[in-house]
């Protein structure tokens, strides 16, 4: 017999009623169900059920995020080497990246699982797999310099306040990962904003070398004056290709538009993300940025005149669109509501970016804001549908 199977079979009795750890029976079941799908069968019609479950659904998001982790680990090390003026030697880069990213992931998962397990124990239900997606998303949105205790605090806030107090995955109205991220932003601005936090400094260094630009493309855009923004980016060493690939100082794994595009296509292809939200987001950004550009006139600040599609190339916009807005729980459920939801997220993102100097990046706040409106959008569409529906009551 399979050794993993044997392990579970030989320890089951501790967790069954009367066993030493009967209280934690669901934890055991949960762990077992990670390795072996449960044996439960249908009790009522339909006698057969779809092979897809929430576990698989959420797992596919994590699959889509793995390239971001690979890229993030590389980019953190790469930027650290550039900031130190060292040649980006591959293994050394990866080593630095791993050393920064792995502890954050481990802390996130350990703390996140602790809270989920605590609530599951008290409420006597199974652990919902949404947790693993939240915990996979959260570190990718953080600067690589974030202290670990803040990481722990952030995910705690995200999981507990963003999700558990409302009843857990499926009953939350905010995106838990973003809730945690927003908490860190407002609680610890010194460690989550400004130009310094986005680049890891190698041990022994207190500042980057002079030739290195620590500013993110977004902060360059926000303060640009005079010439067009792409020119300012080019001067800082960010040509379009670099921006598209994402090789600039930013949150750990959120900078690569290329990977976000690939991830979005993958998630749409496997039916986990709704293309309506993603296209709605994109449309919202393009239309709003385009309208601002039209209305601004030639003498306006360069940020108002930025080519609309360039908004998708910098910062966390693409990451938010592909992974945060498409969270089905905090998004509306109905199709037209999803278009509207996406559009407004895109529009708000651009407005915050362009007009609010306090927020270089707007997508996180835009998504949380629209999360709050998701039930309302659903309600409006339901009403519109019911108006057309013929009541079938005698």
């Amino acid at each position: 017999m399979n050794p993993v199977r044997r392990f579970f079979d030989s320890h089951r009795h501790h967790f069954e009623p009367g066993g030493r750890f009967a209280r934690f029976g669901f934890l055991y079941e949960n762990l077992e169900s990670v390795f072996f799908a449960p044996a439960a069968v249908t009790a009522t019609a339909p006698q057969v059920r779809d092979s897809l479950d929430v576990k698989r659904f959420m797992f596919l998001v994590i699959v889509a995020l793995l390239p971001h982790y690979a890229f993030g680990i590389f980019n953190v090390g790469y930027q650290a080497h550039r900031a130190a003026g060292l040649p980006p030697e591959f293994f050394s880069v990866i080593g630095v990246g791993l050393k920064a990213v792995v502890p954050m992931v481990v802390v996130t998962y350990a703390v996140g699982y602790f809270w989920e397990a605590l609530f599951a124990t008290v409420r006597k239900h199974e652990i919902s797999e949404g947790l693993f997606v939240s915990c996979a998303l959260f570190p990718l949105t953080l600067p690589p310099t974030q202290p670990l205790w803040q990481v722990a605090l952030g995910i705690s806030f995200g999981i507990v306040v963003g999700k558990e107090i409302f009843g857990g995955t499926g009953r939350n109205f905010l995106n838990p990962a973003l809730t945690g991220r927003a908490f860190l932003y407002f609680a610890y601005p010194a460690q989550t904003s400004g130009d310094a936090v986005w680049t890891l400094l190698l041990p022994g260094r207190s500042a980057p070398v002079d030739a290195f630009t620590a500013a993110t493309p977004l902060s360059i855009a926000a303060v640009a004056e005079g010439g067009p923004i792409p020119q300012a980016w080019a001067e800082a060493g960010y040509d379009l290709w670099t921006l598209f690939i994402g090789l600039y100082p930013d949150a750990i794994g959120a900078s690569s538009t290329l990977l976000c595009l690939a991830g979005a296509i993958f998630l749409i292809a496997v039916g986990v993300a709704d293309f309506r939200i993603i296209l709605g987001d994109t449309l919202g950004i393009l239309v709003t940025a385009g309208a601002i550009r039209l209305l601004a006139g030639p003498g306006a600040a360069p940020y108002l005149l930025l080519d609309p599609w360039l908004h998708l190339m910098v910062g966390g916009a693409a990451f938010g669109i592909a992974y945060m807005t498409t969270d089905p729980v905090s998004a509306p459920a109905l199709s037209r509501a999803r278009w509207v939801y996406g559009f407004f997220i895109g529009a708000l993102t651009v407005l915050i970016r362009v007009f609010n100097p306090a927020f270089p990046e707007g997508i996180g706040i835009a998504i949380l804001f629209m999360n709050c409106f998701a039930p309302l959008l659903d309600e409006l569409e339901v009403r519109a549908r019911l108006k057309k529906r013929v009541s079938h009551v005698r």
Binding site: T42, D50, D53, L60, E129, P328, L334, H392
Partner: protein, 449 residues
Amino acid sequence: MERKHLKNGFTLRISGAPDETLASLPPPRQVAAVAARTRFLKPRLAVKVGDAVKTGTLLFADKRRPELRFLSPGAGRVSAVNFGPRRSLQEVVIDLEEPEEAEAFPRLDEAGLAAVDPEELRRRIVEGGLWSLIRELPFREAAALDRRPPQVVVFLDNLEPFHPSPRVYLQGRVERFRFGLRVLEKLSGRPPIVTACTGGAETVAELKPLITDLLQGRYPAHDPGVLLYRSRHRPEQRQAWIVEGQDVLLLAELLQEGRYPIRRIVTLGGPGVASPGHLEVRLGAPLADLVGGRAAVGERLRFVAGGVLTGARAESASFLALHEKALTLIPEGDRPGGLLEWMLPGRQKPSYSRAFLSSWMPSSVPMDCNRHGGIRACIQCAFCMRVCPVDILPQLTYKAVLAGETEEALAHGLLDCVECGLCSLVCPSKIELLETLQRAKAAVREEMR
């Protein structure tokens, strides 16, 4: 013939589809009239163990609706009256004895049908024990005797896996079928709508002129409830009578021959059947006889009377009920999955979603009765709303039901629900949507009585 395209729905590609071969079974030793698996039935027994009965003798009838009479599908002696949980009548078993005698009912020919009074015709069907085959929307129970329906819909094809093909059960019986249609016209006062699905009954030349609506779409496009939802916009127009094609033949046989019909054609299909096909069987035949030696070996099988989505679980020792036209065998699947199997691409994992490789391949795959996942809260994936053939929003309607908001559930279209089972099928959180909606419908029915 009007062609109608019906939206939404989902065609399940499950293996074990019956081919069009028709086999006959050796005569059974026992038959039974089955009360289990008939919704809303409250049977009152009319016989006791040891009584001698003829084919067509009354065995039990509904307490509240005495017009729902269930007659003996064979002649012999009552050998057992089986009860289930809470003393609900399961079936009355008859040991067949040769020669089989049959109760005589009045016969009706073409000329007689033209002249007969609809009241009298109705009385003959009730006496002949077949009134329960004429069902009524929205609750799909036997039609009320005292109400003329706005419409009668006869549906020839049934897209649910797996049901008899009209190409088999109407073979050589088209004349009788026409007679049955005229009976329904007489009863309701208007010609019935006859529906078929593309690729089904329409491919038979002599059936073609009878079909009024050709339905194109995925399961459950065949269901009259879907057609009525899409085409009739006043609620009372949707409260039609629905009759399955094969039941029209039974009604016609009863009236033409003057005896209780005892044969019908059923399918034996599903992943648990080694050689699926059509069978000509006695009404009330033991399910075990239907299976014969055709069950797949090495698996514990679940017997499902009806199709895989709406069929009811049956004991293997049970019998075929009057309204049942299919027996589906599905492996029970009550064992844990393989190590980390849920992470694999899944070539053999059928799914509505595109989350497995199987969704990208055209072949049919076997399924079992495993639930394939733990029960979770709704994550608003919106799959149920996309498959629903009558535009209910199941994920919101079931919440309305559970919150006790019956009015809201009704406004959502609860009574349009055709009970196809797709919402429960596709739900990744494994929520029992169909069961919840059916329960709510039953409660509304009680209230409306």
